[in-house]
C-alpha cells in the first residue's frame, strides 16, 4: 500500500499560479517579518514601526518574486522535484540581492548586508518549499482515503442489485439490450474500481454519466427524464474523477425514485472563460427533506475539489421552486493530448 501511494503521489512543486499557494506565501512571509520585528523591538509600538518599515521594503520584492514564479511555473513543473527546488531558492535569492542592491545601492550598504538579505531569503524560501512539501504529504493519504470513501459511499448496493435484476428481466425478451446494459455496468464498475488517478478528462466523466443514466433509464423507464446540455462542455478539461457521477446518482436517488410522477433531471456543463461550470438539477421532493445520505457525497466532492484546486473551486447547493440544484465551478485546465 505504501509503495503504491508513493508512486501515485510523488513530490511535486507547489503550483505558483494557484491562489491558495500565493496567499499562503504572502501570509507566511509577512508573519515572519512581524515575528522578527517583535523579537528585535523593545515594545509593541516600536515593533509595529519596524514591521511597517520592513514591509515597505519587503512587499515589492515579494510581489516581484511571486510574479517571476507565476511566469515560470509551467516550466518549473517539468523539472524534477529537487532541481526545481534548488532553482527556485537560487532564483529568489538572486532576485532579493538584485532588489536590495538596486533600491539602496551596493555602495551605501556594503556586501555584508546584501549577503545577509540573500541568506535570509534562501532560508525563508527553502523553509516555505519544505512546508508545501509537507502539506502535500499530509494530504496525500487523505486523498487516497477520500477516494476510497467516495467509492464506498457511492455504489449504492440498492443500485447494483436493482440493475442486475433489470438486466435479468431483459435477457429473454431483448438479449441485445441486455448485453449493452451489462457492458454499461462493467464500464461503470471498471471506473469505480480503477487505480486512483489525479485527473480525468471531462469527456471520460461525461461518458460515465451516460453509462450510468442508461442503466437508470432501464430500471425507471419513463419516470426518469434527463436533459443534457453539453454543447459548450470543454471535453479536454481536467477534473478529479467521480465528481459529477455521484451528483447525478444523488439526483436520481433523492429526486426521481421516491416520486410517482416523471422526474426531470438537468445536466449542464459548459466552459465560461477560464472556468468550467457544471450544474445538476432535480425535483425537490418533500418526502426527501431531512435525508442525510446526500450530504456525505457532497462533502466528499467538496473535499476533493479543495485538494485539487485549493481555493479556486466551489460547490454550492440551492433549493428553490421545487427544484434542487448543485453547482460546481472549477478552473479550466486543458489536458495535453
Amino acid at each position: 500500500m505504501v509503495s503504491i501511494r508513493q508512486n501515485v503521489f510523488p513530490d511535486v512543486l507547489p503550483d505558483f499560479r494557484n491562489l491558495g499557494v500565493i496567499a499562503r506565501v504572502l501570509v507566511a512571509v509577512n508573519a515572519l517579518a512581524l515575528a522578527g520585528s517583535l523579537f528585535a523591538a523593545t515594545d509593541l509600538w516600536q515593533a509595529l514601526e519596524r514591521f511597517l518599515r520592513a514591509a515597505a521594503f519587503l512587499e515589492p520584492l515579494l510581489l516581484a518574486e511571486l510574479v517571476a514564479l507565476f511566469a515560470l511555473s509551467p516550466w518549473l513543473a517539468r523539472l524534477s522535484y529537487w532541481t526545481g527546488y534548488a532553482l527556485i531558492v537560487l532564483l529568489t535569492t538572486l532576485l532579493a540581492a538584485g532588489y536590495h542592491a538596486a533600491v539602496l545601492g551596493i555602495a551605501a550598504v556594503g556586501v555584508g548586508e546584501v549577503s545577509r538579505t540573500m541568506v535570509t531569503c534562501a532560508l525563508v524560501g527553502a523553509g516555505l518549499l519544505a512546508y508545501f512539501r509537507l502539506l502535500t504529504k499530509a494530504y496525500s493519504p487523505a486523498l487516497a482515503e477520500a477516494r476510497l470513501q467516495a467509492l464506498q459511499a457511492r455504489i449504492r448496493p440498492h443500485f447494483l442489485f436493482n440493475s442486475l435484476n433489470a438486466v435479468l428481466a431483459l435477457i429473454r425478451r431483448d438479449p441485445r439490450r441486455a448485453e449493452r446494459s451489462l457492458e454499461d455496468l462493467s464500464d461503470l464498475f471498471r471506473t469505480l474500481m480503477s487505480e486512483p488517478r489525479q485527473f480525468v478528462r471531462l469527456a471520460e466523466e461525461i461518458a460515465l454519466l451516460e453509462r450510468y443514466s442508461e442503466l437508470e433509464q432501464l430500471r425507471l423507464g419513463e419516470r426518469l427524464r434527463i436533459t443534457w446540455e453539453l454543447d459548450a462542455a470543454p471535453l479536454d478539461a481536467l477534473l478529479p474523477p467521480l465528481v459529477l457521477q455521484p451528483l447525478l446518482e444523488n439526483a436520481v436517488y433523492h429526486g426521481v425514485e421516491p416520486g410517482t410522477a416523471t422526474g426531470d433531471v438537468l445536466v449542464q456543463i459548459e466552459r465560461r472563460g477560464d472556468r468550467v461550470f457544471a450544474c445538476i438539477e432535480n425535483p425537490y421532493l418533500e418526502a426527501e427533506l431531512g435525508r442525510a445520505g446526500n450530504r456525505i457525497a457532497l462533502e466528499n466532492i467538496r473535499e476533493r475539489l479543495a485538494l485539487f484546486f485549493d481555493a479556486e473551486a466551489r460547490i454550492d447547493t440551492h433549493a428553490a421552486n421545487g427544484r434542487y440544484r448543485v453547482e460546481i465551478e472549477m478552473p479550466y485546465r486543458a489536458s495535453t493530448p
Binding site: 448496493p157 440498492h158 447494483l160 442489485f161 436493482n162 442486475l164 435484476n165 435479468l168 425507471l220 423507464g221
Partner: protein
C-alpha cells in the same frame, strides 16, 4: 394460487412474472393484478382476490411495509412475501419478526419455496408488521366494505377514544378506526399531544386555549382548534404540560 405483484420498476415485475412461469410445474399461479406504487397496490389488492402479495419494500408514495400494515385490516388479507434489493434494516426486522422475504435478483427455487409457505400461512398480523416497521405510518386506514380508505396523518386534527373505537377527525370529516389510543400515541409522538385521558391533538392544530365558560369552583380549559369548531376539554393532569407548549409556540 392467485398472485398480486407490486413493484415500482417495470423490469422487476416482468422478471417476477417470468419466474412464476418457470416454476409453474411446481406451483401453479395466476397473476391477478399489478401495481407500480404503494397507493396503487392498496387500491387494487382488495378487489383482486389475491391470495399472495409479492410486495417490493421501497416504492414511491408508500413503502411496502406500510402497504402491508393497511392491508392487514382486511377480512381476507392476502399473505405477503416482501421483496427487496437491499435494505439491511428491513431484512433484520423481517428475520426478527418471522416475515418472509426474497432478495433481488430473485431465484426461482426461492420464489417457489416462499409461495408454498405463504399459501399455508395466514396473513401477517398488524402487531407483527408494526414491530418490523422502521417508523410511523403516513396514513391511517379505514376499511369500508371492500375498500381501504386512507387518512393522511398530517391532515388529522385530533384522535378521540370512544369505547372500542377511536374517532379520527380531519377538517372535512370523521372516521372510526379500531386501534388503541396508547399505541397511536406511541407511534406518533411529536406530532400529537395528549390533552385528556381519551384524546390526542395534533400540535400544529392547536390554535389556543379557552377557560371553560360557566365553570363552577373547578375551572378547566378547552383547546381551540385550527380548522374545526369543536372545543376539546383539557384534563387537569395535562394542563401544566400544555401551558408550557403554548409558551413555546411562537
Amino acid at each position: 394460487m392467485r398472485i398480486f405483484i407490486a413493484d415500482d420498476e417495470a423490469p422487476a415485475r416482468e422478471r417476477l412474472k417470468e419466474l412464476l412461469g418457470d416454476i409453474a410445474g411446481e406451483v401453479e399461479t395466476s397473476v391477478v393484478g399489478e401495481a407500480q406504487n404503494g397507493l396503487e397496490a392498496l387500491e387494487r389488492v382488495p378487489a383482486s382476490g389475491a391470495q399472495v402479495l409479492l410486495l417490493d419494500i421501497k416504492m414511491p408514495g408508500m413503502g411496502g411495509l406500510e402497504v402491508a400494515r393497511h392491508l392487514a385490516a382486511l377480512e381476507h388479507a392476502p399473505s405477503v412475501v416482501f421483496v427487496t434489493a437491499h435494505d439491511r434494516h428491513a431484512v433484520e426486522a423481517f428475520e426478527v419478526n418471522a416475515l418472509d422475504y426474497l432478495l433481488k435478483p430473485v431465484r426461482a427455487a426461492r420464489l417457489a419455496d416462499a409461495l408454498r409457505k405463504a399459501a399455508a400461512a395466514a396473513a401477517p398480523g398488524r402487531e407483527q408488521l408494526a414491530r418490523a416497521a422502521a417508523g410511523a405510518r403516513e396514513y391511517l386506514s379505514v376499511v369500508e366494505r371492500h375498500r381501504i380508505v386512507l387518512v393522511p396523518v398530517r391532515d388529522i386534527l385530533f384522535l378521540r377514544a370512544e369505547q372500542k373505537y377511536v374517532t379520527v377527525r380531519t377538517r372535512e370529516r370523521e372516521h372510526l378506526i379500531e386501534e388503541s389510543l396508547i399505541a397511536l400515541e406511541r407511534e406518533f409522538t411529536g406530532r400529537f399531544v395528549r390533552i385528556h385521558r381519551n384524546c390526542l391533538v395534533a400540535r400544529s392544530a392547536i390554535r389556543g386555549f379557552e377557560r371553560a365558560a360557566g365553570a363552577d369552583d373547578d375551572p378547566h380549559w378547552l383547546v381551540l382548534l385550527e380548522g374545526a369548531a369543536e372545543r376539546l376539554p383539557v384534563s387537569r393532569r395535562q394542563w401544566p404540560m400544555l401551558r408550557e407548549l403554548v409558551a413555546e409556540k411562537p
